[in-house]
């Protein structure tokens, strides 16, 4: 009996399915329109279609993974529960003050993000815990009860609690919850000390507020999903993707929906790193270009994590795969300012009305319209023919821009691409500098609907010499989640100082903290009731030189902490610091802020399908034809290949176009492509670019 893994990714426009046959590693993909009102319906319909189209039986599904943007959209649209916030007296404006910085100081009309909880629903509670974790004042019970009564009157549906220093002692937050559960039973309550016990009241409180805001909705959604999937006869574990690139059970996702906020972009990067690992490429810049934006991430063996991510306008401090937007997507609109200078974005035609060539009412030229005019995208084969492209509308929209620029439609189209690409340069190059990466030995891995179309152009602009286009770039998110591990992060703030003299107590404190977190992590893994290839808990700590306020997360192993004098730890920190900042300060005392543990249950990795050597691998074997493509100011006679028919070992040179169900790849002149044994297109710059 064959067995399968099913990955589902619900996006704003499409719900993507990928079905992996475990024995052969073969992946099949399906895209269906999303159903924003009832997202689970699109899921159930798609599953039924897969069952019938591919003759798969429910009991053959061994692994079921699901990713959704429901939580993140709820936060961005503020469409979650009416939420109240309990804080320590004197700190009513934690959410209003935030971290102070004005997002755009050059705009007199700029806005700070409107808090998820208005000031009128913030309740100050007399209570206090000291910085050392001592309860100086217990919770004022009457104040909580009065707040509860007020909440009832105001129709509050969810409550978040963040008291000062609760990361160190959660007694008062727990006491508040007990009182709330007695007085306003049934409300969704999130405690900051439970969701993410890290020092910093704004960020910790915000995590609790977001969790409360989306909580009930997500809980209801996940339980409905689980019920429906079971109803279809699927008995496998039902897992949800997470911002940290891992997965968890959906029942936990209902309790900690905040962990799913950044899961969408994360899954794609996990997929990319899986592809990279399979072909032995450690250093990758991933480039996910969709309809409205282009996002990048860095992989160095493992994806980079960041604790400075944002959702909408809000910071999220829990570790998440570090994904940053660098500009335009396929739907970004081209326009000219009053001086006739060409700009692209940030306005986007989105999915509706979409680019002009969709013929759905859009009239402004977009990046996609430029692709169509230049001959890069075949109007008949766009998204496997799912959308009927009208080239004459693309041309009309671009001609309007061209009139202002004094250029014809072809030149204007190319100008749109060049401006879009140079904008990506302006964002990507500083971004890599910020991460301390000199990208000489990095490859670009494009995915998403437009990533492969634009990837080579970006690589050329930035000076990246190698481009890897995976086999299924349009559904890498859904496919990536099939390779994800069960993963959860734990944190404890210990905040202690290590002077230059030996202080074994510091190392002991760290080790005790980490061991406690490890126990928590192992217990959590056991709770999953799954079989793992391997279980591990890795350790790290946030450390800085005393007096600084930016810290580095340094990974630790038992060996580092075996040395009770702390000398090994200090050496390790100095090394990492020097790597990042280019110098070190051997005499400076260290401040250890937090210890962190990540529990990972390693799942069985799917096999990747080897693309058979079909035919003799000669050029032209898989050729639907040739096409004239306009690029770099002239026409080229480009060979067009059908991706599904391209055998491994095939080689060809740009200019060329590779077409497939979920995307189109453009290879400009100056690049040579080899198809590897997994079907990836490996493009190499032939000379100086």
């Amino acid at each position: 009996m064959p067995s399968y893994r099913m990955g589902i990714d619900i996006g704003g426009t499409f719900t993507d399915f990928s079905l992996l046959e475990e024995g052969t590693g073969r992946i099949r993909v399906l895209k269906t329109p999303s159903n924003p009102a009832e997202p689970e319906k699109a899921v159930f319909d798609g599953i039924s279609r897969i069952f019938s189209e591919y003759a798969v039986r429910p009991d053959e599904i061994r692994y079921f993974i699901h990713g959704t943007t429901l939580a993140v959209n709820t936060v961005i649209q503020r469409s979650g529960a009416k939420t109240a916030f309990l804080v320590t007296k004197g700190f009513r404006d934690i959410l209003n003050i935030g971290r102070h910085r004005i997002p755009d100081v050059f705009n007199f009309f700029t806005e700070l993000p409107r808090p998820l909880v208005p000031r009128s629903l913030v309740f100050e509670i007399p209570e206090r815990c000291s910085a050392t974790g001592r309860i100086v004042r217990p919770v004022d019970r009457e104040a909580v009860r009065a707040a509860a009564a007020d909440m009832l009157a105001k129709g509050v549906q969810a409550i978040a609690v963040c008291f000062l220093h609760s990361y160190r002692n959660d007694e008062n937050e727990q006491a508040a919850r007990a009182l709330l559960e007695a007085d306003v039973p049934g409300l969704y309550v999130s405690l900051s000390s439970e969701i993410w016990p890290q020092m910093r009241e704004y960020e910790r409180g915000l995590v609790a507020v977001m969790n409360a805001h989306v909580g009930q909705k997500m809980k209801t959604y996940f339980s409905g999903l689980a019920k429906g999937v079971r109803g279809l006869g699927i008995g496998a574990h039902i897992l949800s993707t997470k911002s940290n690139g891992g997965v968890m059970h959906v029942h936990e996702a209902g309790e900690r929906p905040v962990d799913t906020l950044l899961s969408g972009p994360a899954a794609g990067v996990i997929g990319a790193s899986f592809v990279g690992a399979a072909i032995g490429l450690r250093n990758l810049v991933t480039f996910d270009m969709g309809g409205t934006s282009a996002d990048v991430a860095v992989i160095e063996g493992e994806p980079r994590y960041s604790t400075e991510n944002t959702v909408g306008d809000f910071p999220v401090i829990m570790p998440a795969i570090d994904v940053t937007s660098i500009g335009a997507g396929g739907g970004s609109i081209a326009w000219t300012d009053s001086n006739g200078v060409l700009k692209v974005g940030p306005m986007s035609a989105g999915a509706k009305p979409g680019p002009a060539c969709y013929g759905l009412g859009g009239i402004q030229a977009t990046v996609t319209d430029a692709y169509v005019c230049l001959g890069i995208v075949d109007p008949k084969r766009f998204l496997g023919g799912a959308i009927d492209i009208k080239p004459e509308l693309a041309e009309k929209s671009v001609a309007a821009i061209g009139k202002i620029l004094g250029l014809d439609a072809l030149e204007s189209s190319e100008s749109i691409l060049r401006v879009a690409t140079s904008q990506m340069y302006a964002a990507l190059v500083p971004l890599l500098a910020r991460k301390g990466i000199s990208y000489d030995d990095f490859a670009l891995l494009p995915f998403g609907g437009a990533g492969p179309t634009h990837g080579f152009l970006l690589a050329r602009e930035v000076g990246i010499r190698r481009v890897v286009v995976p086999l299924h770039p349009g559904v890498l998110c859904a496919a990536g989640s099939l390779a994800a591990d069960i993963r959860r992060d734990f944190i404890r703030t210990i905040h202690t100082t290590m002077q230059s003299d030996t202080e074994s107590s510091v190392v002991t404190t760290m080790r005790n903290g980490l061991e406690a977190l490890s126990r928590e992590g192992r217990a959590w893994l056991d709770l999953q009731g799954m079989e793992f290839l391997d279980q591990r808990v890795s350790w790290s700590a946030d450390i800085r030189y005393l007096g600084q306020s930016f810290d580095l997360t340094v990974s630790l192993d038992a060996g580092v902490l075996a040395d009770a004098t702390g000398a090994v730890l200090r050496r390790r920190f100095n090394e990492v610091y020097e790597q990042v900042y280019g110098y070190k300060d051997e005499a400076a005392p260290l401040e250890i802020l937090d210890v962190r543990a990540t529990a990972v249950g390693v799942t069985l990795k799917p096999k990747i399908e080897s693309v058979a050597m079909r035919g003799d691998g000669k050029r032209g074997e898989a050729t639907p034809g040739r096409r004239r493509v306009f690029l770099d100011g002239r026409y080229w006679d480009a060979q067009v290949y059908d991706r599904d028919a391209l055998p491994s070992g095939a080689r060809f040179k740009g200019p060329a176009i590779v077409e497939q169900y979920d995307t189109t790849t453009l290879i400009p002149h100056g690049f040579a492509v080899t198809v590897d044994r997994f079907g990836n297109l490996i493009g190499e710059a032939q000379d100086a670019i």
């Binding site: 004197g90 700190f91 009513r92 404006d93 209003n96 003050i97 971290r99 102070h100 910085r101 004005i102 100081v105 050059f106 705009n107 007199f108 009309f109 806005e111 700070l112 208005p118 000031r119 009128s120 000291s130 910085a131 000062l164 220093h165 990361y167 020092m199 910093r200 009241e201 300012d337 009053s338 001086n339 200078v341 060409l342 700009k343 620029l405 250029l407 030149e411 190319e414 100008s415 060049r418 401006v419 140079s422 904008q423 340069y425 302006a426 990507l428 190059v429 500083p430 500098a433 910020r434 301390g436 000076g463 905040h495 306020s549 930016f550 990042v580 900042y581 280019g582 110098y583 100011g633």
Partner: protein
């Protein structure tokens, strides 16, 4: 090759990528905490003539776009590939540097033997010697007290480091290793810029790049003129003050006349008060200094979100700044705290410009930032341990279409605050309160509320300082009938018998148990409160910024049982409209009272008369004159010519006294 206009955008994007990459290189590689925390550094690309043609949007201090490097470049006889020039000298650079801690480096970039452009960057060094650690003392009265001055000199000559110069620099500051670390970060950024510009030149050719640079400057100029042409021609006057209480009880006036003529702007600062014997002076050398034009830059960028960020946008701006004034002091005065002055110059310029473009400029915000520092004797090391408690800013002014932002304002909007939990871990204090003030200046669009920070000090021998406090005596101005903002305030032991209002903090010594409550100013409102949407008033009541009484009395909004009573509101508003407030600017009682004692006409006259006397004597003379005028209401009421004669006599008398005193000595 793409068309010229397309190439312009492409090159602008490439250059933007390069200056921002420079910024991140500096941020990563620099050493001092201050640099990393506050982003007090910057980078840019400049034309061979020394004008900025590309400037970062997302990193750095964000207020240096207006620098003019021409004078600094002309200090160097012969430039060759591999040179790097260092300077922090306001005098020889004619105000490119405005205070000594800003250490600036620049490098000429040659391609094919030709100078294509300069790369430039700076960091604010945490110490360049001088009177106090950190080199900035508000009470410093000449530049020699503020540290080491480095006129433009080659730090690297044709690729070779000038060790001798470096040794002299590092021997004159308290943190030589850190300064050298920061300078190395700057050198790394300059090298990156050279490499990247080289790639652009290789791709597009030096000629295209050079013409692209010129094209970008013209493009910027053109866009700016277009915006400025949309402003009605005319003359617009305004004045605002800074409070330099520690050297004079009279406010220091910044007077400006903005002349708009067919897309050209003149900022004429005639009538601005004399230079100060304190570190508030802004050394512009009479040129359109970056601080003087900052308000204009922000106005232009607000008006066009896609404006190219280069100094071309300032080609239409001219200035006139008389010598010997606060904004064009004699060489070698102290300038360490010039940012307080700079913020107020913006308030004054925008106040004038807002008369021409009222729908595009907000009312005044807090216009200040005070960095509250707490130091205490560390019993373990025996030394003083210093912590930043909080940067206290205060609220934004109300805006023509929306409320002001609470708690922060545009002057220091890029600063981050410190979590209370972090402060309590680092310093021996307990924070009692850190929240917005429960009030906001009324207006159709209300002002952003101020911020309150209250803490109890636990350590013996604790000292609090907070340089940069202002708007403690004169409020941020309201616009079009709105209320002015609220004042800053410092209370020690509030609510007890020992409560004292100490005004601005200079050096505040605390005993264990003492409580300090600092309130940062609130921004002013915009537009008549009677025009405010009653629903917004109700929201403010719910959120605790407005009381029901204030809603009725000031906004004319009647609220009952949590709802707006529309009928009662109509009646209230009709009744209140009998006393309409149509004032263009609302300054508040303090300034009105001050200006009855010292009317603008008299201040103008004094400024004019003082111009004939040596700059260094003017502050003394001004204060003497003001004291006599204040005391003599009869003098004020005389005809202008009489007043002039009277004042002149007073001046001569004061000078004679001074001369005879010196002779006697």
């Amino acid at each position: 090759m793409p068309s010229e206009k397309v190439l312009l955008e492409i090159l602008n994007n490439r250059f933007t990528g390069i200056v921002e990459e420079m910024g991140y290189v500096i941020h990563r590689a620099s050493f001092t905490v201050f640099v990393k925390e506050t982003w007090d550094f910057d980078s840019a690309l400049l034309t061979p003539e020394g004008e900025v043609f590309c400037y970062p949007r997302n990193i750095g201090v964000t207020n240096m776009l207006g620098i003019d490097m021409g004078p600094a470049v002309r200090c160097i006889d012969h430039l060759e590939p591999g040179d790097v020039i260092v300077t922090n000298d306001p005098h020889t650079t004619r105000g490119m540097c405005t205070h000594l801690p800003d250490i600036m480096l620049f490098k000429p970039l040659f391609f094919g033997g030709k100078l294509v452009c300069f790369a430039w960057c700076f960091v604010h060094s945490s110490d360049v010697g001088g009177l106090v650690p950190g080199s900035i003392a508000p009470t410093a009265y000449d530049r020699y007290q503020e540290g080491l001055t480095i006129p433009p000199t080659k730090l690297v000559k044709a690729g070779k480091l000038n060790d001798e110069l470096l040794r002299i620099i590092l021997a004159n500051c308290r943190i030589p290793e850190q300064n050298w670390g920061d300078m190395k970060a700057l050198l790394a950024a300059l090298n990156i810029a050279e490499r990247r510009i080289g790639q652009v030149v290789a791709q597009y050719g030096a000629e295209s790049v050079e013409s692209g640079i010129r094209g970008l400057m013209n493009y910027g100029e053109h866009r700016a003129r277009e915006i400025l042409r949309g402003i009605p021609d005319g003359e617009y006057r305004f004045a605002d003050y800074i409070e330099v209480d520690f050297v004079t009880k009279y406010f220091v006036r910044i007077n400006v006349r903005v002349v708009v003529e067919q897309g050209n702007l003149l900022l004429d600062f005639t009538g601005t008060d004399t230079q100060m014997r304190a570190a508030m002076n802004l050394p512009t050398y009479g040129r359109p200094n970056q601080w003087v034009v900052l308000g204009i830059v922000n106005f232009l960028r607000t008006s066009d979100r896609a404006l190219p960020v280069n100094r071309g946008i300032l080609r239409s701006v001219k200035v006139h700044i008389p010598e010997g004034t606060l904004l064009n002091p004699a060489p070698f005065v102290a300038t360490g705290v010039r940012h307080t002055t700079g913020y107020r110059v913006s308030d004054a310029v925008l106040g004038a410009l807002s008369q021409a473009a009222p729908e595009r400029i907000p009312a005044a915000g807090a216009g200040q930032v005070a960095i509250v520092l707490y130091s205490h004797l560390d019993s373990r090391t025996g030394g003083y341990s210093v912590n930043v408690l909080q940067p206290m800013q205060g609220g934004c002014g109300g805006r023509p279409t929306k409320d002001g932002i609470d708690g922060v304002n545009f002057s220091a909007g890029s600063l981050r605050n410190v979590p209370t939990e972090s402060i309590e871990l680092e310093a021996p204090i307990v924070v009692n309160r850190y929240m917005l003030a429960d009030k906001a200046a009324a207006g159709r669009y209300r002002g952003g509320s101020g911020v309150i920070f209250e803490f109890q000090s636990l350590a013996p021998n604790a000292i609090v300082t907070a340089r940069g406090m202002d708007r403690f005596k004169l409020r941020p101005y309201g616009r079009k009938g709105a209320h002015p903002g609220s004042l800053g305030e410092t209370l020690v032991n509030p609510g007890t018998a020992q409560e004292t209002n100490i005004g601005k903090i200079d050096i505040l010594k605390l005993n264990p148990g003492d409580v300090v409550r600092i309130t940062a100013p609130g921004g002013a409102g915009y537009g008549d409160p009677l025009d405010r949407d009653p629903a917004m008033v109700l929201t403010d009541i719910e959120n605790g910024f407005v009381s029901e009484v204030e809603a009725a009395d000031v906004y004319g909004v009647s609220v009952a049982n949590g709802r707006v009573d529309a009928a009662a509101t109509k009646v209230l508003r009709e009744r209140l409209t009998n006393h309409p407030s149509t004032e263009e600017f609302v300054f508040g009682p303090e300034r009105m009272e001050y200006e009855t004692r010292l009317p603008h006409a008299i201040q103008d006259l004094v400024a004019e008369l003082l111009a004939a006397y040596p700059a260094a004597t003017r502050q003394f003379l001004r204060d003497r004159l003001y004291a006599r005028i204040e005391a003599d209401a009869k003098l004020r009421s005389q005809p202008a010519a009489e007043i002039r004669r009277g004042l002149f006599a007073l001046l001569e008398e004061a000078m004679a006294q001074g001369k005879s005193a010196m002779a006697a000595e």
